[in-house]
Structures are given as C-alpha cells and as structure tokens.
C-alpha cells in the first residue's frame, strides 16, 4: 500500500496461467505470470541458463532460442504464448553427448572470447544456415528472386541480430561458413 506522498504505482495481483512448456524434448508443467518472458522462465524456473540476458529489449541476441525450429528473441516472447510450441535452447543443440557441428566449429575456430553471447550466436547460426538452405533472401542478396550463397557478407548480414562485445566476429563468420558451406 502506498502512503501519502509516495506516488509510486500500485499494482494489482499478478495473473498467472498453468501451462505445459515443451523445452528440448521435455514437457514441463509450470505456472507462469502472464508478464513473464520465455527468457526469464528458462533461466529462473527451468534452470536452463544457457540463454543469456543482455539488453532485454530484443537488440543484442544473447537470448536467442529456437521456437518450432525458428530463431527468436526469448526476451520479447511471453512464455504464455508458446505453450503449444517446441522450444530448443543451446542446451538442446548437442545430441547424445556430442557437440552440434556448429558448436564444434565454434570451438575449432576460436569463435568466442568471454562466451556470454555464444549461446545466442549458436542458436541463431544453426537456424540461419537452415534459412539459407530454404532459399530465404537477405538484405545483401543481389537478386531477391534467386537463391543466396552463404558468403561472408551474407553471414554478417544474417547474424546482425547477435552482438559480440568481445568482437569475435571474424572467427564467428569463419565457424559458420565452415558449417554452412
């Protein structure tokens, strides 16, 4: 309760929803505040701390996860909206104890320094390579009516939603090119 002279906002009680969330192949029953983002649910309630909180405004890409195979920003995704979707986080990329080819390429090419942006870079890169294979154009594709070739310019443009404060971009491009071509 706010007293006189304290004009801070008075919030009503939280509104919650009971949902089943499918993450990395596991269905998890969970009660979420409707305001909760997928990023917060993963990190705070499901102990999946691979996806990182960078800007929390959809600009840095550290929170990138896959929803039904497509890369999205989990910081702008309300958890309550994805109860019927299949979510894949960086923890779900490796299969049977062996690294995903993109993870192996990041290690081999030294594509990170501090590693904070890396889970988002990996999820983004895995989905991006698939987008190119599906023939999606980008802003640097010379002829939008035709297919794209995954050269350095295409990789840089298509990965522009993932920032790296260490500036590991040169090796990130090399790692993605190794997997995508």
């Amino acid at each position: 309760m706010n007293g006189e002279g304290n004009s801070g906002p008075v919030f009503a009680d939280p509104i919650t929803a009971d949902i089943l969330l499918s993450v990395n192949g596991d269905e998890r029953p969970i009660t979420v505040d409707t305001r909760e983002t997928l990023l917060d649910t993963l990190r705070e309630h499901l102990d999946l701390i691979g996806a990182k909180k960078g800007c929390d405004h959809g600009q840095c890409g550290a929170c990138t996860v896959l929803v039904d195979g497509r890369r999205v920003k989990s910081c702008l995704t309300l958890t309550v909206t994805v109860d019927d979707r299949e979510i894949t986080t960086v923890e779900g990329l490796a299969a049977d104890g062996s690294l995903h080819p993109m993870q192996a390429a990041f290690v081999e090419r030294d594509a990170f320094q501090c590693g904070y942006c890396t889970p988002g870079q990996l999820c983004s890169a895995v989905a991006m390579v698939r987008e190119v294979a599906d023939g999606w154009p980008s802003a640097v594709t010379a002829d939008v009516s035709g297919p794209a070739v995954l050269d350095d310019d295409e990789i840089r443009e298509r990965m522009s939603g993932n920032l790296c404060r260490c500036g590991a971009y040169v090796n990130i491009v090399a790692a993605i090119k190794q997997v995508g071509s």
Binding site: A12, T34, H57, G58, T81, S145
Partner: protein, 332 residues
Amino acid sequence: MRPFAYERATDVRSAVAACAAGTADGAGAVYLGGGTNLVDLMRLGVVSPGVLVDVTRLPFDGIEETAGGGLLIGAGVRNSDLAAHPLVRRRYPMLAQAVVAGASGQIRNMATVGGNLLQRTRCSYFQDVSKPCNKRVPGSGCPARRGDHRNLAVIGQSEACVATHPSDMAVPLAALGAVVHIEGLGGPRQVPMPGFHRLPGDAPERDTVLEPGDLVTAVEVPPLPFAARSRYRKVRDRASFAFAVVSVAAALDLEDGMVRDCRIALGGVAHIPWRAERAESALRGSPATEAAFAQAAAEELAMATPLPHNAFKVPLARNVVVRTLLDLVEAP
C-alpha cells in the same frame, strides 16, 4: 509492468468482441501479434494494457493470389515468410527487399505483417517515460523539436509531433497502393494505403485510422505488372539492424526511354510511409533521365519543412530517389 489477462483468440468475431469489451471497460485491451514492439513498450512502461488478445492462432497466416495477379497477405504472416515467398520476390521485389532490410533475422521470424504496420510511430522521447511526449501523454509537450531530432520527420510533421514511422515494409506497400483489410465491431471494411496511417496534426497519439476493437486481418497488394521492375533502397547509420535515415521504394514502367508509369514512396521522412505522388505525376510521360528524376524528386521535397538537425535529409532523399530510379533504368 502492470499485470494483464491473456486471451487466445480462436475466431475473429470473438477476438473483436474481446478487444472492444476490454477497451470499453477501461482495462485497455490490445491485440498481440509477434510482440516485438508491443512487449518492449510494455516493458518500458510506455503502454500498460490490462488484456492481451493473442491473434496469432487465427487463420490469417497465408498468402493467396487474387484475380488479376495481386496478392492477399494474411495479417499473421511472419515477416520472414513474406520476404521468402516466391511470388512476392518475383512480382514485388521492392517489398521483399524492404522486409529483409528491416530489423534482424530473429525479429523478422516473430513479427507479423499486421504488427509491422501497427508498430508505433515513435522516437526516443516516446520510449522514455521520464520525458514529456505528446504521443504518449497528450498535451505534455514535444522535446524533440528543440532536442534530438536528427533522424525525425521532415515532411508532414506538426508542432505536436515529429516522429517517423519506422517500418520498411510499409514503404513499398504505400507505393503499391496496398489495401488494409479490417474487421471491426461494425463488420469488415477496407482502407487503402496511404490513408491507413495518420499524420500527427494535433492528435499524435493516434498513429492510424483504426477504431477500438478493429483488427487488421489482411493486406491486399493490387496487381501491378511493372512492379517486377522495382527496388527498395535504404540509407542508415550502420550497415544492418538500424532504422532508415531515408529509404525509397520505387517501381518504373519504361517505354522507349520514357517513363510511362511509376510508383515512388519514401521512408524515414514522415509520420507515415510517404507516397511521393507529386514526383510520380511529374515523371509520368517524361524522359527517364537523371535530370528528370532530380526535378521530380525536388518537386516532392519542396514541401519539406526540416528542423535544424535533420535538414540533411532533404538532399539525401532527393539523391536516393534519383539513384534508385537510375538503378531501375540500368537494371537488366
């Protein structure tokens, strides 16, 4: 963030009823599409709806051909799918180019066509709740006119607001005369672009002509065979993932070195995607030369009333129009 009720719409009528009811009882119901703008604005405290009506499960996720060679694009189509569609890329290259020029891959996977149109016309003051803003709090004032307005409007702005509509997609849609299909309390209706978005005037809080409860269900792009020769060119402060400083969508219909018909729209210069009708009129029937293009662009931009820090946009817009049209002349 204020707590809100979440409802998932399963049919159009109940969605419209839910949103209109939520609006009428003061709870401030809004539709949720991809959420890339709305959720961010909620997080910033700029908007505080009491009810979110999720419309992403409604059957508006397809792209259909219309009689005569146009396209009917469902409002729920994701931006990525719009740009990747073979008919969009072949018939309206400037539309595919504009979509992939916007935001990032992740955002385009989330954002819907309807939501792209309905993202807020905005500036940094609109997003900062510690500052006045006539769009966010009507009558509170506009700090941008004497503050940071380098990237704000140079055409059609008002004393109340100088924000720009940030959509890339909406620029070629305005050039193409796309028609917005709307379902409202009174039934369905259609609003052609331009005409869907509003200039700020003295009511900058209203970005569009939509009424409470109105739901955008589709965008119809009319047939325009010469749009196969079209292009979107965007100038921005960094190479990717940035709003336009100025952008141009243009289509040219050439015959024997003359402009038989053309379409031109500008982004980054106004509160709405700006259809350059004066330039189009000036060009029809004129030679397809650099001089004619510069003259037409100058006629359009004669109405510009820039502020001290964004006057550079006027010659920039002229040059980008000329360069884009020349590219189309030189295109194979």
